[in-house]
Each structure stands twice: as C-alpha cells, then as structure tokens.
Subunit: 543 residues, 2 copies
C-alpha cells in the first residue's frame, strides 16, 4: 500500500515566501561599519532576496553554480542565504579570519563562480584575488561609500532586478543550497555541502522548545559569524518564524557588543565561549566603582544564550547566570549542520539544586531528534552510557555529512557502516548527557593513562584569578606526554603555579595529572572561529 501524502519537497524557498507573506512588518537590524543601525523589515528582505536571485539568473547563474560570500553578519548576507539558493545557486561562505592564501585555495577548490563581498573587506579580497578568478565580484556598499570601479554594485544590481517577475529555480529537496569548509586543523580544509532537505530538517529540530526554543516574539543576536557553520543555522530558524534579528556587523569587541545589547536588547544571543569570556569580564569590570564604563551597559534580563564551538567552562555559565543570563551549551561541527547535542534542563533536573544544574549545563548536552549518536571505544565496541566509559563520538542523521565535496571518501572520517567519526572523545551518562573529554588530537597520554585537557582547563578557569586557560600536551621522555597549561590572569590579579596546583588538588585531580609547567600569557591565541588555537600553542611551547 502507498501513503497518500503529497510529494512536496522541503525547500528554503517556502521559508522565504512564508516570511514575506506572514512577517512583512518584523525587523532585521544591522550594525554598519560606522556603528549606526540600519533597519530593514522582513518585507524588504523578501523583496531583496528575490531581487538578488533574479539578478544572479540574469548574470547567467546556472543550477548548482557556487556564489561565494566574504561578509560580516548583516542583512545583505542574510539575503544571500536565501537569494542564492532561490536562483538555484549554492552559497559558499568564505571564512574571513583565514589566511588570504587559504581563502583563495578554498574558493578555487569550490570553483566559486561569483563573489559577494563587503566593501570593507575588499583589501582582504585583493590579497587572494590572484589565486582564483571570480567571473563577477559583487560589492556590498556596507560602509555607504561608492563602490570602486571594476566591481558590480550589489545595491545597483538589486535596484535593476525584477522581484515580482522572478521565478524560483526548479529543484529537488536534495539539491545543494550552501557549502562551508571545515577549519581543517589537519590537512587541507574540506567542503561540506548542505541541501534544502538537510537545512529545513536541522532548522525544525534545533528550533524546538527544549533547544533554541525559538519564538516569533524573540529577538536574536547572532555573534557567531555567518561563515561559521551558517551561524549555527540560526538565520534559517529566524526566517522560518519571523524572529527579529540584530546583526552585529564587524563590531565584535566586547565593548561594542555590550553597547549593542544595551541599545537593542536581544532575548537570545549566540557565540563562542572565548568571546563570551571577554564580554563578561568587560561587563563585570564596568560594575566596579571608578570604572570609566560604570552604568554604560545593561545585560538584558532573562536573556538566553547559546554557546558552542568549544567546551563551555562551568565558571562561565555561573558568571553569566549571576547577571540573569542562562547559557545553553551545544555541541556540533560544520559536518553536522551543526547542532548535534544541546544541554537543556531535562525534566529530571526540575528538583535539582543549582550546583547540579550548573554541572549539567557545562556538559555538551543530549542528542537532538534525528541525530543518532554512539561512543566507540578503542576496541570498536559501543561504550555503555554510564558517565564513565570514553570513546570517540560517532553520529549519523539526515543533516550530517556523509562525504566531502570533490575529495575521495576518507576512511578515517567515516566508519564502514556509514557513521561520521567526529574526532571528539566523550562519555555519555544515563540521561544522555555527553561529556566531551577532548579532541582526539588534544588528549594527553601520560604513562599510559589519559589526561583530559578540557577537564584541566575548566578547573583552572574556575580559579577566581584566572581569565583563560588552554592545556596542551608536550612530549616527555619518561611519560610520553605531559600537560602544560597556558594561562591568562585577570587584570590586577596574581596567582602562582603552586597556588593553581593546590586549587587543582582540592578539586580532585591526582598529583600525576597536574600540569608540569604553567606559561603566563597576555591572551590565548584564537582560531578563525574564535576557539583556543592549540596548534599554535603546541608550535610555540612543545619543544
């Protein structure tokens, strides 16, 4: 027997039309380079995204052609999210934090045909322009200045287009809509290609009440760059439900972000832990008597915050909650769209005390629907969900990549039975809370025993004098590897290695697990997506 349901494909175009029809009056706010705010409505967005699609087709865009973006978070980037797929193209977000050579290599590997670039990022573009020839370079006059000769003006292109006459490119739900290259800490970056189907499914799952809890009455601040796993997919969710968006533009300094949330208070903000750390430090410093910023900022009461991209220390969750902001931690990767787990307050925690709630919130979270998750031990067996046994996280699902663009399927990235090997090492407890112990490559093996660099970092960062800490393995003749801690002290705070070790012993670490060395830094170096850059630390210290 057959189902009688209509064979209607999942489609981003449906979400775009829905936004234009139902949410025409809702706001999309973008912060411009001069820090002023530009306000669009969803009605504008709908018309402009269709105009972009129409213009791209007139420029000769063919089904499946890649259109790269090199942009900050703002309204025009959102228009690319929907306008490029509407025309049948594939939006390829370039990571503006990468070295120019690497950006050029990635654009070449993806064979990008057109580029949409912010005018303020043209100097970066010039640095890799020789490495890949785009057919057309479309410049967003983001700063308000005139677009330089030789480039196509994004606004002029839209003004000439025909949004009413535009017709969506016919498509199947498995057709590609966007691609994103992994940060590639080992080997060359690799391209993940999302489809209409995977994007709609991920949006529906992540938006559910227990996870993002996204509502039409929300106001969302995506600090996570739109080139970082599509700002974790939040722009799609916002458009689906007509959620007000506040885009920070290029201004990601803590002072700027605090100014922005004070002026346009979001109900939901998302970003990586390192940015949130500097933000809470700046905010708390502003509360001190005599601070030049005294009274300047207000953290929105009851704001939720999604933090991911790297493990979130419990100390950070506690610090934000002191000011009424609850952090929901998520875990995932470019390969997984990205949301795989979210640490939400489960029914079992309703009677729990705050210590237990903070402890759970500092875990990676519980697998979301449509994601199968297992933890495989060194012996290739599934580990029990007992909160102790560790192994590699492997995942499978309709919004998880099963291969990479234009490279042979790598045996070490996928299992024989089709699961993605994430490279993250974790245990899972009986309630399904995943606890990331380490990246496979960050684990420290000392005298045959594993030491978790993440556990050490979190414990060091729980010390009141410490702002940031990253722990790496350094080679050791006797033990194989030993931990080294790179730490940043808070302003005007002092602490010694002996005091930190005493602090760690008190928190239950064994003597052999303590760092052999502490390095005192002014800042921990960051990767292009804002994570601690351990590779750089290893190059510097692991002699």
């Amino acid at each position: 027997m057959q189902s009688t349901m209509m064979p209607i494909p999942l489609s981003l175009n449906h979400l775009l039309e829905r936004a234009g029809q139902l949410f025409a009056g809702n706001e999309i706010v973008s912060r411009l380079p001069d820090k002023s705010l530009r306000r669009h409505t969803y009605g504008d967005f709908h018309r402009r995204a269709r105009s972009l699609a129409s213009a791209l087709q007139k420029l000769g865009l063919q089904k499946g052609d890649r259109v790269a973006t090199l942009c900050w978070n703002h309204h025009a980037h959102l228009e690319c999210y929907f306008g490029i797929p509407a025309a049948g193209g594939v939006m390829h977000t370039l990571n503006l934090r990468l070295a120019p050579d690497e950006i050029g290599w990635i654009a070449g590997h993806a064979n990008d045909r057109f580029l949409v670039v912010d005018d303020v990022l043209l100097p970066l573009y010039e640095k890799f322009a020789a490495l890949h020839g785009f057919e057309e370079v479309i410049v967003v006059p983001f700063s308000g200045a005139k677009v330089p000769a030789g480039f196509t003006d994004y606004e002029a292109l839209l003004a000439d287009a025909d949004p009413e006459g535009f017709e969506y490119a016919p498509h199947d739900e498995n057709d590609p809509v966007a691609m994103c290259y992994t940060s590639g800490t080992t080997g060359r970056p690799k391209g993940v290609v999302y489809s209409h189907r995977s994007t709609v499914l991920h949006t529906l799952v992540a938006s559910l009440s227990d996870f993002w809890g996204l509502r039409g009455t929300d106001c969302v601040l995506p600090v996570t760059p739109m080139f970082h796993a599509n700002s974790w997919g939040m722009p799609y969710g916002a458009v689906m439900l007509g959620v007000k968006i506040v885009f920070p533009g290029p201004h990601l300094h803590p002072d700027d972000l605090l100014d922005l949330v004070t002026e346009v208070p979001p109900t939901l903000a998302l970003g990586v832990p390192t940015i949130w750390m500097t933000l809470i430090q700046a905010y708390e410093a502003s509360l001190a008597d005599g601070s030049p910023n005294k009274g300047r900022w207000k953290l929105p009461a009851g704001m939720r915050s999604l933090v991911g991209g790297a493990p979130v220390p419990e100390s950070l969750i506690r610090a934000f909650h002191k000011h009424g902001v609850w952090i929901l931690q998520g875990w995932g990767m470019t390969e997984t769209s990205p949301v795989c787990t979210i640490s939400y307050p489960r029914a079992e925690l309703e009677g729990a005390d705050m210590d237990e709630r903070y402890r759970r919130a500092s875990l990676a979270g519980v697998p979301v629907p449509l994601v199968d998750l297992r933890v495989r031990g060194d012996d290739g067996e599934d580990q029990p969900w007992d909160g102790r046994a560790v192994g590699e996280i492997q995942v499978r699902g309709p919004f998880i990549t099963g291969s990479y663009h234009a490279v042979p399927v790598e045996r070490e990235k996928f299992t024989a039975d089709g699961w993605l090997r994430t490279g993250d090492v974790a245990s899972v407890d009986a309630l399904g809370f995943v606890r990331i112990t380490d990246r496979t490559k960050d684990l420290i093996k000392s005298g045959g025993e594993w030491i978790s660099s993440v556990d050490l970092e979190n414990a060091v960062m729980a010390h009141p004098a410490i702002a940031e800490a990253a722990v790496i393995a350094i080679p050791d003749e006797k033990w194989g590897e030993r931990p080294l801690a790179c730490v940043v002290r808070k302003k005007d705070q002092d602490v010694t290695a002996e005091q930190l070790n005493a602090h760690l012993l008190q928190r239950g670490f064994a003597k052999w697990q303590l760092p052999d060395r502490y390095e005192w830094l002014d800042a921990v170096p960051r990767t292009s997506t804002g994570k601690f850059w351990k590779l750089k630390l290893r190059e510097r210290f692991a002699r």
Copy 2:
C-alpha cells in the same frame, strides 16, 4: 554539484529508539476502566512496542499490512502507534463512536488484517464482526479481566515476544505508518494514509515553541481520541521529546476529567470545544456555595490547552482564562495530519489589550511552516489577505494528503494544480490569521447574501445564559435559506428569543441576519469526534 548529506530516511523507529535510550525513566499514566491509574515508563513503552512488533511479525504480518485498533486512549494504544509501523505494518485507528455498520465497512475497505481491541469494546466489536473477517483479534485486557476464549491475549502475546532480538522492518521514508478515515459527512468515509516522512515532519512543525511549545518538562493530557487524526499527532510529539503523558482511558465525562487533572495536573491538555464547554460549566458550578462538588477540583495553574476540531467561541477562551488556562486554537483536518494553522500570540500582539488577544485567539490561527495556504474565491482567484474577502481554504504541503486510499482521485477534492480543497470558507487578515466563516455546506445563503453560522453561534454563546448554540440553514420560499438557532440554556438560566435577538443586534448583526427561529434543546447532538452534529439538526428541524 551534489549535497554531501547522508541519505538517512525520516523514521518513527528513530523516535522509538530515542525514547528508549534517553527517556527510559519518564512516565506514561493510563486511567483504567475502574478509574485507577496504571503507570508505565518510557523504558516499558520501548520494550513493549518492540515486543508488539516482534509478535506481529511472528503472526505473519507483511510489509504494508493493516492492523486496526479499536481502543480508548491508553498505553497499549500508544504501543500500537509505534509497534505496528516498527513491524512494517500500517496502524488503522477505527472510530469507536461510529455506527457498527460503518466501522465494519471501513475495516473492509481498508482490508484490515489484524485487530487490536480493548476488552471493554468487545461488545461493539461483536456488532460489526460479521461485516469484516479479521485474521486475528488481539484483545487488550484493559479492565484486568481474563481475555475471553477465541481471542488472542495482548499481554500474553507481548510476554512471549523477543524485544531484544527484534529487527525493524526495512523501510523508505515514504512508506505508510498509519491510516485514518475521514468522518465522511458527505458520501462514504475516505482513508488518508500517513507516512514516516509526513508524520515526522508534522511532529517537528507542530511541536515548535510558537505552536504546541512542547518541552520535556511538560505533562500532556490527550482528551482528543487517538482515533481522531491520531490525537492530532500529539502522541508522536510526546515520544520524540520524552513528555509525560496522562491518558484518560474511557472516562471523558467532565467530572472524570476534572478528577484526573486534579490528581495528575497536566501542563498541556487537548480536546474539542464541546468537551471543553461541558468541562468549564461543571468546574464553575462546583465553585458555587452549596455545590456538592465544592472544593473537589483544581484546574492546574498556567495550563495551556489546545482546542480544535471545530471553531472555538471567544466566550470559551475567556471562561478558561478566568481560571488561568490559556487556549491555543488550531485548525486542520484528518487530511492534513492535522495541524494547518494555530492561533498563537504573535509579536505584534505583545502590546495589545486583552480584548484584542481574545479576539485573535478565537480565530483559527496562522499557517504553520511547511503548509502553503490560499483562499480561493468563487471566481477561482486568490483572495487578498485583508480580513474581509472570503473563499475556500486550499492547502498544500508534505503532510497533506494528495489523494485517498483505494478510490479514484476526486476532482472536487483537489485542484488541477494539486492543492487540497478543504471545504472550509474563510478570510485571512494581514497578519495571516485565518478566520473560518463556515463549512461550505454550512453557509446560509439568504436573499443572495451569505450569513455565517459560525459567527451567529459564537455571538449567541457569548450570552451569559447560554451554554451551547448551533445554527443551521433551513429552506425558505422567499429567501432561499434562513438561519435557525438550536440553543441550550445554562442550568437554572432563562432567556427568550427576543432577548437573544436584542443581544445579537447589540453585537453588530443586521436585522436580516438574525435567526428566524430558536429551538430550545437539552443538548446539541455530537458527531463521533465531538463536533456539533449539524446534519442531525437539519434532519430534525429543516422541514
């Protein structure tokens, strides 16, 4: 270029495994025929649904075979929701409110192979047993009595099964999982067949924060029968998120429901308006001094309620809100899985006064994601969304039926371009709120002008002395048709036709729109799904 996403099918089996793995400790409570409560866990549910699947396969169930259910709302019915599809079968919910002949005809038309039936419903089964021969009749010993000879004992079947060794039937996401016949007010009932895909998509969409807002911390009371469009899909959502469920069993009398919510307070309850009307009347009567039920019941503070299946009068929404319960109205049909629109508090209503909020809540609501909705005028043109222009609602989407089981596609049910013609007449306002004016067949055409029976009913029910009102068209020589109002007065309340007409004039009705006649009834007859049975009223009064 190709997407790199894994080709993993959507599947109810994933939701079942997820529930067993993540929510094993969460509760499923069922009220038994003797009114005691039986408590299972999701761990039990997972094991028992797999046992059922394994047993069905041993009985010879083949892919696509129909297994009918004739059951109240309880744990074993939920096991059928997942266990039958797990085995590759199609669950066919039989409506126990229908005439036995009709049930028998439907079972025959669907060619049901097996039947799962509550022991307390065996007398009903016996009445249609001669009309369709089931290969195996499996009896749920719901009352606790011994299963009569000649039938298969559901519990014995499960006890003999092998839940660990069971393997899911291989399937595609478009394979069928469940079927439901429409109530068939015109012509024979028609079968709608849901798939893994449509069910998972509908579950994700309806569960979103703006709509059901379903969370793992919820406790849901599905009063809506599990044979009524699958209890609107709520059982699937509950299992996806591990939500505690309280099943009312056969006890749907207002006193029984009030006892139940007092003993196990839900956060979310769903049912049709007629049941909710009698419930609030019983509750309010119990508050009066001297009531024999004084102090017996407590409506859970902050409870949400989903009401649909028929238009929800504003007076009902106000009455519940007086006691802290907010009603979310939804609209849909068996053909649409069923949720198409939900009247949720949009961002635009945040500053609105309560009158405006009640007014919006009394509308059918805003289309949910994945549902395309249009209103077609008599001229075949799309009507503008101006809150005035009316036409037939037509819908399209991946969880909407495009045909019926084993009947030729009917031209009058689907448009040439593939939309479902719902038969409901409505206008849509600029914010996308659908206002149902009538069923096509319930509209009253008087002197060439349309009168909305729904508007009249709601206005009559807003009178403080009125408990229920149903308005029908009666033939009239001069005007074609004229409205007749069938009304039920509240206990110990009196009101005359003149007083009601004055009340209607005061609310803005024109003189020619007033009912020509009032009929004073003790109760408005109900259809099998609890809606006002206008067909019966027309037969009785439209001479």
